[in-house]
């Protein structure tokens, strides 16, 4: 501010002063101009970086829609979404993706049925009940689980879980929906647990102290007071897990069998994600466009899940 005042009053002062001083002042104001320009450039640069994420989302949306819509138009929306037969390589091809949609839904629900109780209980353990050292070990384990690449889950699912499922249920092949559900259940655990732990840690201690003072045991307090108070955070964690389960491709591809059957717990199935991944490398023409349309359906699923997530988080904020 002060500097600016001197500089703006510079020229008037300079008329009365020695020429060297005038030169100096001109130099300084030139530096000032340079600095201003630099400020403006950096301002614009940072703005551009800030808009990068927005641009990426727009780009993805535009491309998914423009690539996905033609095939849907050609096949017909109801035939595409509700058709029960997917035979993309047959002489008379049929593009119905109902089996994929239902498989993705069943698979996700199944993974949540198994994963959510384990995840929430583990979160209670980490946040409230564990002795500090044990908590450190378990939370490090959860972090590592989050970092394990999905192909490694797929590898173990394929070589351990699939044979085990075949053995236990006496199937000819264990590559089925159940195996996929089990793999997904493990894969959604880490993100769910970490969000739920954060929510549980944020529960005001007064709530728990009041409950304890009223005569509830610690365990009752955790389950009836803490979990209730943290419910929106836990719900957000579950929705995050759902998003992960719907979007998982590689691990599921390695264990689910990849036949376009209507889903059954012991049948070989194809998910929305694996339908794309399986045929993408050799597809062409309408078949390829239909794969992009599956991508569009998957995209809409994820967007819906994101919207729910935002709603849940917002609801939680209103509560407090």
């Amino acid at each position: 501010m002060k500097q600016e005042a001197i500089l703006t009053s510079g020229p008037q002062l300079g008329t009365k002063q020695a020429p060297e001083r005038q030169v100096l002042l001109q130099k300084r104001s030139a530096g000032r101009v340079l600095k201003d320009a630099m400020e403006k450039i950096m301002n614009a640069l940072f703005f551009a970086c800030g808009m990068a994420a927005v641009a990426c989302v727009l780009l993805i949306t535009v491309y998914i829609f423009s690539a996905g819509l033609p095939a849907i138009r050609q096949i017909g929306l109801s035939d595409f979404l509700l058709g029960r037969v997917w035979k993309s390589t047959a002489a008379e091809p049929s593009y119905g993706i109902l089996p994929f949609i239902l498989t993705s839904v069943y698979g996700t629900v199944g993974a949540c049925v198994i994963g959510v109780p384990v995840g929430v209980l583990t979160a209670v353990f980490l946040s409230k009940m564990a002795p500090p050292r044990l908590a450190a070990v378990v939370s490090a384990a959860v972090e590592l689980l989050a970092g394990i690449p999905s192909v490694v889950y797929g590898l173990i699912g394929m070589l351990v879980l699939v044979p085990a499922v075949a053995d236990v249920f006496r199937l000819s092949s264990g590559a089925c929906l159940l195996a996929a559900i089990l793999v997904l259940a493990v894969m959604i655990l880490p993100s769910m647990i970490s969000v739920a732990v954060t929510a549980l840690n944020a529960v005001p201690p007064e709530y728990e102290q009041a409950s304890l003072a009223l005569g509830a045991t610690p365990v009752e307090t955790y389950f009836k007071v803490s979990l209730t108070a943290a419910r929106s955070g836990i719900a957000a964690g579950i929705v995050l897990g759902i998003g992960r389960a719907v979007g998982e491709a590689m691990a599921v591809m390695m264990v689910a069998g990849n036949v376009a059957n209507m889903p059954g717990i012991f049948t070989s199935v194809t998910f929305l994600t694996t339908a794309i991944a399986k045929e993408m490398s050799y597809a062409s023409g309408l078949q390829r466009q239909a794969l992009f349309s599956i991508g569009l359906v998957l995209f809409l699923f994820i967007m819906a899940i994101n919207a729910v997530l935002n709603l849940v988080l917002k609801g939680g904020r209103d509560d407090d």
């Binding site: 002060k2 630099m38 400020e39 950096m42 301002n43 940072f46 703005f47 970086c49 800030g50 990068a52 994420a53 927005v54 990426c56 989302v57 993805i60 998914i64 995840g119 209980l121 583990t122 353990f125 009940m129 564990a130 070990v137 378990v138 384990a141 959860v142 590592l144 970092g147 394990i148 690449p149 999905s150 192909v151 490694v152 797929g154 590898l155 173990i156 394929m158 655990l189 647990i193 045991t217 995050l240 998003g243 979007g247 491709a249 590689m250 591809m253 390695m254 994600t273 991944a277 993408m280 490398s281 794969l291 992009f292 991508g295 998957l298 995209f299 994820i302 994101n306 997530l309 935002n310």
Partner: protein, 281 residues
């Protein structure tokens, strides 16, 4: 009544411990399995040689190099953009609505499944921009994928830089860019480094997005330029190819072991960076 409460309490406690034990057991099981199966399969020769059908040799060197190249270029592109975006959100932006839009889109990017990144990356980079299935296309796809990670971690640590630092500098006549360059960014080095490490972890573990964009090449390129313009499989993609498409489990186990070691190292490094660099400031 009291008896019933006691039993419920005990059951719930048991369930909680059981769940935690299950998580631990799954991790120990996975790591144990990969280590037991991977150690006999891995050797220095495997790591340093190139797979060749004609010579009958097996090796994972190309995949290791490809993964390394991908980490390097992806970070090189995503780092300025991601840090810039975080700085914009935290230091420059004054329009609340715009901030909310940017944060919302960042969250959205983080939630999009990698197979969709693969599709869009293929459409945009391989076809539209004519880059073919190449490491470069893969890196550009990964750039978009890792952008939210860098933005979020940087932003978190920008928020911890005390406002008084900025006010002090402003009072001394420093311009905004000067403040960002000399005070804000050095103070949030921990978040930036952590973000880089986490992004590297994402690159190492990614497979679905790379299958169509970076392809399945198994060769070692002669120069860096050639490497980026050619199709090349990363370790994770190679694991999928060997195990699922070729049924070569021995190499699969070896790659899985390498991946686990990398992921664990990255995890530890991120933890260390968060702690060590934070204390300095």
């Amino acid at each position: 009544m009291i008896e019933k409460r006691r039993i419920t309490g005990m059951l719930l406690t048991g369930a909680v411990y059981l769940a935690a034990a299950l998580c631990l057991a799954v991790l120990v099981g996975i790591i144990g399995y990969v280590v037991i199966k991977g150690l006999p399969a891995i050797s220095w020769k495997l790591i340093t040689s190139v797979p060749s059908v004609t010579k009958g040799t097996q090796g994972i060197l190309p995949f290791l190099l490809n993964t390394l190249y991908m980490i390097l270029l992806t970070l090189l592109i995503v780092l300025p953009i991601g840090v810039g975006a975080a700085v914009y959100l935290n230091e420059y932006a004054s329009n609340k609505k715009l901030i909310r839009v940017i944060e919302f889109t960042t969250e959205t990017l983080a939630g999009i499944p990698s197979i969709l990144y693969g599709l869009v990356g293929y459409l945009v980079f391989c076809q539209k921009l004519g880059l073919q299935t190449s490491l470069l296309s893969g890196c550009l796809t990964l750039t978009i994928m890792t952008l939210p990670t860098i933005i979020r971690t940087t932003q978190e640590s920008l928020k911890t830089v005390p406002t008084s630092y900025r006010e002090g500098a402003l009072g001394l006549g420093a311009t905004k860019w000067h403040i960002v360059r000399t005070i804000v960014l050095p103070c949030s080095l921990d978040g930036i480094v952590t973000g880089c490490i986490l992004a590297a972890g994402r690159v190492v573990g990614e497979s679905a997005a790379l299958l169509f964009t970076a392809g399945t090449g198994k060769l070692v390129a002669k120069s860096l330029l050639a490497a980026y313009s050619r199709s090349g499989a990363s370790l994770a993609v190679a694991l999928y190819l060997y195990v699922f498409e070729e049924g070569n489990f021995q190499v699969g186990y070896a790659i899985a072991l390498v991946l686990l070691v990398l992921v664990t190292a990255i995890n530890l490094a991120a933890k260390w960076a968060r702690k060590a660099l934070k204390q300095k400031t």
